[in-house]
């Protein structure tokens, strides 16, 4: 098949891939690397310092976060979108892939080059009346005209918008399996990792571990806005058995997940994907999650972990029977469904479909 000229339009706050935290940026990087390796001509519109494969075009001389540009000031993201659109209109690309949510939405009007959007963030209603939510309304108005990709069935269902079937896709995020070592033995303790906040269910994990009197390791970033939450609700529970080990780099993740019996993910929101789940499973460590958001899609209940209703007793029950899970199958599931190769395949296929 003909190789494509593909424009990837990334957010400009940090580099692609990110030096530390940044889920969207990591996905965009894998996509650029993978597509380039398959011989496509990738042009990446992103911040200077980005090292993903492809031709890098930067409209501003620093990542916006380093330049202290306010999050509410869209001037450079608009310029980024404008330049990509101008270049498309000059005939430089076969397809444009936007990762910029709302801001990118309007730009398909400005070019004849086919456009696809990935919704990395949830597109949920925030009011009881969906019409009152302006972001949702704007997507609603464009829904019939845009090609859109969700990162899980749950994310699509939660969106509460009618998107035409043939323009709507679900493409799961993928991970680089070579970064996650398979640990066939596991261990005696449990782990929890995420950004430290209430929605990620850290308190549920602690309560379950305390009831069982079992060891639990906590990890993940504490945002400045969450230090009070951490000090009030988490810190008092820390002791010999329940420990917080800080924010981990990607290199440290395998040694965190691998030696654990299971990863606890008793979340309290409709999480659209849940990279933690897939990373843990890549190390062979099963996941026990509350049935929220995409969890039933990522975890096969009874086979790669347990998906349970939001209830502490059920969580404890599941923890007791976690040894039933075959860790080899857990790893295998990720290889089949959540590798970056599979993700790049899916996007590549989507591009060809849009062009045919």
């Amino acid at each position: 098949m003909k190789k494509l000229r593909i424009a990837q339009i990334a957010p400009l706050w940090i580099t692609i891939p990110p030096l530390k935290y940044g889920g969207i940026e990591r996905i965009v990087a894998m996509l650029c690397d993978g597509l380039s390796a398959r011989g496509h001509a990738v042009t990446l519109f992103a911040s200077p310092g980005s090292t993903a494969k492809g031709k890098l075009i930067s409209v501003f001389d620093k990542p916006l976060l380093d330049a202290n540009i306010a999050w509410s000031n869209p001037i450079w993201n608009l310029r980024n979108l404008s330049l990509a659109t101008e270049m498309a209109n000059d005939g430089n690309f076969d397809i444009i892939h936007f990762h910029l949510d709302l801001w990118a939405l309007f730009f398909h009007n400005l070019t004849k080059t086919p456009v696809i959007h990935t919704m990395h963030n949830p597109l949920y209603r925030t009011n009881a009346d969906a019409n009152k939510d302006d972001r949702l309304r704007l997507f609603m108005e464009e829904a019939k005209r845009i090609n859109i990709t969700f990162i899980s069935q749950s994310a699509k269902d939660q969106a509460m918008l009618e998107f035409p079937e043939k323009r709507t896709r679900i493409i799961y995020n993928g991970i680089d399996l070579s970064h996650f070592k398979f640990n066939k033995k596991g261990g005696d303790h449990f782990v929890w990792i995420a950004r430290m906040n209430k929605h990620k269910g850290v308190e549920n994990a602690i309560a379950a571990a305390e009831k069982l009197g079992i060891r639990l390791l906590l990890a993940g970033r504490i945002d400045p806005t969450q230090t009070e939450y951490f000090d009030t609700y988490i810190k008092p529970h820390l002791n010999e058995k329940i420990k917080y080990v800080g924010e981990l780099t990607e290199e440290q993740l395998s040694d965190f997940y691998g030696p654990a019996k299971a990863c606890l993910y008793p979340i309290e929101w409709e999480e659209p994907f849940g990279l933690v789940v897939v990373e843990s499973m890549a190390c062979g460590t099963p996941v026990i999650a509350y049935r929220r958001g995409s969890m039933p899609e990522l975890i096969e209940d009874g086979k790669t972990g347990f998906v349970i209703d939001s209830n502490l007793n059920l969580l404890i029950e599941a923890m007791k029977k976690i040894d039933q899970i075959d860790r080899k199958q857990v790893r295998q599931q990720v290889e089949e469904k959540f590798s970056k190769e599979r993700m790049v395949n899916d996007y590549e296929k989507a591009y060809y479909e849009l062009l045919s």
Binding site: S72, L78, S82, F106, L110, L138
Partner: protein, 318 residues
């Protein structure tokens, strides 16, 4: 300013459509971009959805007029990526070198400055201008006062760049009364007010009146011996200066941005370089004739002149 421009253009029989918030009052055709001014929405975290809505609505009309006159800064620039009527953008804010990089890249947008100094500042940053149009007002709406009361005045936003602290200390050093009228927008300005300004207000001669409406503004400006304008940025125009002069009130301003174009030194006020010079100027304000101030506005900064100039530019672009 936009309202004045719109009303005058309607009077001159142009077919004007105003894209603005739905609660705007205008004689032009109004196409609402939002129901109410988003200013009024407490707790609005980001204006992104509103701006996107605005772009979308205006885009539908991209070929319905002879010209877009844009006062909404860079937000409307993406419109020029498709075939549209000419877009003239008046730059109402100071130009910084970082923002200028983005402006420059949109080479189909026509720009208009509101003072020669702002034009120069734009051109230093590589943005060429289709013209310069001074802001204008209707002098007849400002009551001329031949004699002033016994106070000086500061009128403007409460922040460092607008020089409120210098105004207060210059007045204090000169031993005169100062009336401070101003408002705070956003957390930074409130902090500045609480920590830098409020402690100075306890003094007997410094009187803070907060935000005032138009009639109050005319009344208080007219009664002032002079308006203190110790601006600490490259001011693109400084509307309050012509409003004060229209009331007969001279200006004592720092030599920044547009000030030398708006104030005639020693004739309609004093242009000074620092706080000490401002204090000296306060003491000799009686040498300025209030009639000269009013006449200066009538001759140079009227709404009629502003709209005449815009008409010229419109004709050039169409």
């Amino acid at each position: 300013m936009l309202s004045l421009l719109t009303e005058e253009l309607v009077k001159r029989n142009y077919d004007i459509t105003l894209f603005a918030s739905g609660d705007s009052e205008t004689s032009a055709k109004l196409i609402p971009l939002t129901e109410k001014a988003i200013w009024l929405q407490k707790g609005l975290r980001s204006p992104h959805a509103y701006i996107n809505t605005a772009i979308k609505i205006i885009y539908k009309f991209r070929n319905s007029f002879d010209l877009f006159h844009n006062h909404f800064d860079f937000f409307m620039f993406p419109l020029c990526l498709s075939e549209t009527i000419p877009i003239l953008t008046t730059l109402h804010r100071p130009i910084d070198s970082v923002t200028a990089q983005a402006y420059r890249a949109y080479n189909k947008i026509f720009f208009c400055a509101i003072s020669e100094d702002q034009r120069q500042s734009a051109e230093e940053n590589g943005i060429s201008m289709a013209g310069v149009v001074y802001n204008g007002i209707s002098p007849e709406k400002y009551i001329f006062r031949e004699t002033a009361d016994d106070y000086f005045m500061y009128l403007g936003r409460v922040n460092k760049e607008k020089g409120i602290v210098d105004a207060i200390s210059a007045a204090r050093d000169a031993g005169v009364k100062l009336l401070v009228a101003g408002n705070m927008v956003g957390g930074d300005e409130w902090n500045y007010f609480l920590h830098e300004v409020q402690p100075l207000l306890n003094e007997e001669n410094i009187n803070f009146v907060g935000q005032i409406d138009f009639n109050e503004k005319v009344r208080l400006l007219g009664g002032a011996k002079a308006l203190l304008f110790p601006i600490d940025r490259r001011e693109p125009f400084g509307l309050v200066m012509i409003e004060a002069m229209a009331c007969g009130t001279p200006i004592i301003a720092y030599r920044r941005g547009s000030v030398p174009e708006v104030v005639k030194d020693k004739k309609t006020g004093f242009i000074v370089n620092n706080k000490e010079e401002m204090t000296e100027a306060i003491k000799k304000i009686h040498t300025i004739k209030r009639k000269d101030c009013r006449a200066h506005v009538e001759q140079n900064f009227t709404l009629k002149q502003m709209v005449d100039k815009y008409e010229e530019i419109y004709k050039k672009l169409i």
